[in-house]
Point group: C2
Chain length 481, copies 2
Amino acid sequence: MMIKMGNEKKLVEAITSMEVDFAQWYTDVVKKAELITYSSVKGCMIIKPAGYAIWELIQQQLDFMFKETGVENVYMPMFIPESLLNKEKDHVEGFAPEVAWVTHGGLNPLQERLCVRPTSETLFCDFYKNDIQSYRDLPKVYNQWCSVVRWEKETRPFLRSREFLWQEGHTAHATAEDAEERTIQMLNVYADFCENVLAIPVIKGRKTEKEKFAGAEATYTIEALMHDGKALQSGTSHNFGDGFAKAFEIQYTDKDNSLKYVHQTSWGMSTRIIGAIIMVHGDDSGLVLPPKVAPVQIMIIPIQQKKEGVLEKASELKRRLSSFRVKMDDTDKSPGWKFSEQEMRGIPIRIEIGPKDIELNKCVMVRRDTGEKIEVSLDQIEDKATELLAQIQKDMLDRAKKHVATHTYDAADYLEFEKTINEKPGFIKALWCGEQSCEEEIKEKTGATSRCMPFDQGLVSGKCVCCGKPAKKMVYWGRAY
Amino acid sequence: MMIKMGNEKKLVEAITSMEVDFAQWYTDVVKKAELITYSSVKGCMIIKPAGYAIWELIQQQLDFMFKETGVENVYMPMFIPESLLNKEKDHVEGFAPEVAWVTHGGLNPLQERLCVRPTSETLFCDFYKNDIQSYRDLPKVYNQWCSVVRWEKETRPFLRSREFLWQEGHTAHATAEDAEERTIQMLNVYADFCENVLAIPVIKGRKTEKEKFAGAEATYTIEALMHDGKALQSGTSHNFGDGFAKAFEIQYTDKDNSLKYVHQTSWGMSTRIIGAIIMVHGDDSGLVLPPKVAPVQIMIIPIQQKKEGVLEKASELKRRLSSFRVKMDDTDKSPGWKFSEQEMRGIPIRIEIGPKDIELNKCVMVRRDTGEKIEVSLDQIEDKATELLAQIQKDMLDRAKKHVATHTYDAADYLEFEKTINEKPGFIKALWCGEQSCEEEIKEKTGATSRCMPFDQGLVSGKCVCCGKPAKKMVYWGRAY
């Protein structure tokens, strides 16, 4: 009798090694860890339970951090009338080419077509225009969790898809200073979140004019470095000044009874960040999840589970560890299969417990990140699990920091830049004159883009890496997702 | 100097009394409690912070109850290709007339148009078709939280809008029995949630053939009674049998190696339920929120707050009550205004504290639901707040139950039915022969629809309230939202 073993079968086919083909490794992991699957809708993905549970943990923790800073959640319509999208010139130019258009409602054509939101600045502006009247109504610090649509031509799971999930914060302030302060505050929230929750170190900085958001006065970004040396923009925060306010006529009456335009910001982080978790921490056995966003933190795998007392003891451990996200795998698969699955899914700790362990009143805890096996007395499992999860979280950040440090290079001139980008993938720190033409030349010749002008500029003294003229800024460059 | 006082101004205009015009009262409350506002997108609403915070509390608690029964969350694309929507005949007939169609992506027309999901049975089926292979893959108990679009002609905040937020669960099972069991299980989750969290009693039952969901074998519903005597369908759970499985070819290999169709269910609850909270509990001063879904449970209002020590003491109370959702209103509005606002927003408890109270080491707690004022020693505020919130939650359910009991009528024949529906709005329990023609006749003549055939049928003996032929079912009838 042949029964197809759904889960076991797929693990027989090993995933591609990262060193052989990083892109294929990524696709293999995303599918075999069952994070997503493709749908019948071209360019849109289905986020499966193992993937969505990571997003839920991201949402919970990021939302908590938002609310600590006074953010309130709202929900705006998913449609934007064409006339509304068209109100801010730079913004519409940036987004119109990649939106999906609704032209019919039921059986009838619409009088005005509606785009499915690619981002909601225009909707928030239209709302604030009526909702803000007095200085007493400011600031407005609103956010929404939703999905957005951008009609991308080439798509990759999490990194670029036609529909993705995100949060978008949209704020309005009385002064330019207040808006700038909120813009930086939220960038810092993202950076803290990445470091402390996702164990991903980031470079904080400002985007160049060329790379900034359509309609923004300034765009700030956090940039992370993936295992393959490519950069990933992981969160952005925009200061709009009063540009949108003027386009949408959003004014308030100040204390002195004068009418003033508000100053606005927006900031977002998306499911793209799950791609960063995979590409920063993963290895050739699959996902490696930081404990704080691991849907399952501990997997208990009974050994020789048919022997008397084994399942009972394993269940007892599960009960005792119930303050963690813990599961037990008591299916009839072999322990080896169960180990592979737990590794593929990136579960931080595996607990092995069999008849011999029980006899000696111990179990074995195995770290997913290092493979280290630790014998633990059954009297101490709660304390040891707490300690180990904290240690894994810390070590993952330390390793990722080290990776950034050892993959960040200086380039004094163009030849060095070119040699570095081709031979040693990573961030390149190089000086820049500030001219867009140099930025474009570098991109065209090397495929590297300016990632950001880091807040930490150091002493900017020397020549532009491209044209040799006096430099104005130090820039992080890199090939990027 | 005239400064427009955003919040104060609106409360000057009293809301319409429920008895005078219930529909207008509803609209007034929804707007003045700042739950929603209208958007530039016809038929779509903007859910403001006070409204969205209620939805977040609903989500958290309902999602927790789901997960206790083994539900896993996922995310499906928001678009459905036309060919996919067309696969199940009854389903497409039910939904095609009211969907929004995307015809262009960016600057190009699409090869096949996509509808924005009105519900996602077809997407889940398309997914399950590939994801389910063996009996080991069953059951699948998936759910998603998302927005859906139905191109309604007439819309009302929360009750009927072109876009709304909801959860939709979609499950697949090995047998018909398993599917039926899950269908009823989720209906019970909804009913428990309404009673225990929202303080809304519901009638559980089965929809008639005429009223069931497009494509379902059986639809079960929970029906709530609003203050004005109209019914609101508050959650539904559908058993699809193997109808969708046959249309989408969703088969699994059973233990005996034979191929079998799965049996499916779906179940949903939406932001519509916020309309029920408003219309079951509200009064002429505004919202009355059950403590379990009140974004703010306690509002502390200092009296004569400029007097020495008042704000300090009020802040101290706030700190001591921080295990509740507590706020303090120390703006420069008058206490009277603050009371009105707290009442309008439905905050369950108001604490008044002024110089005289402090002198006597007490404060006054005022119940929003009854207006009762209770003097509480400052030494006991934590215990008293706990006790009072529990009491309010319980009393609100009891009052709502009493309202259902006193507004549920029996009708033995058509004349009694007609007289009752016109003079005493509420549920009418009346016998039915089971013929759709009678259902249609009643609807046409009285505006009442069959709400459900309650699980608790009692002894069905007598004549159909419409045609006088022998009855087969006892039915709850009513005019409905």
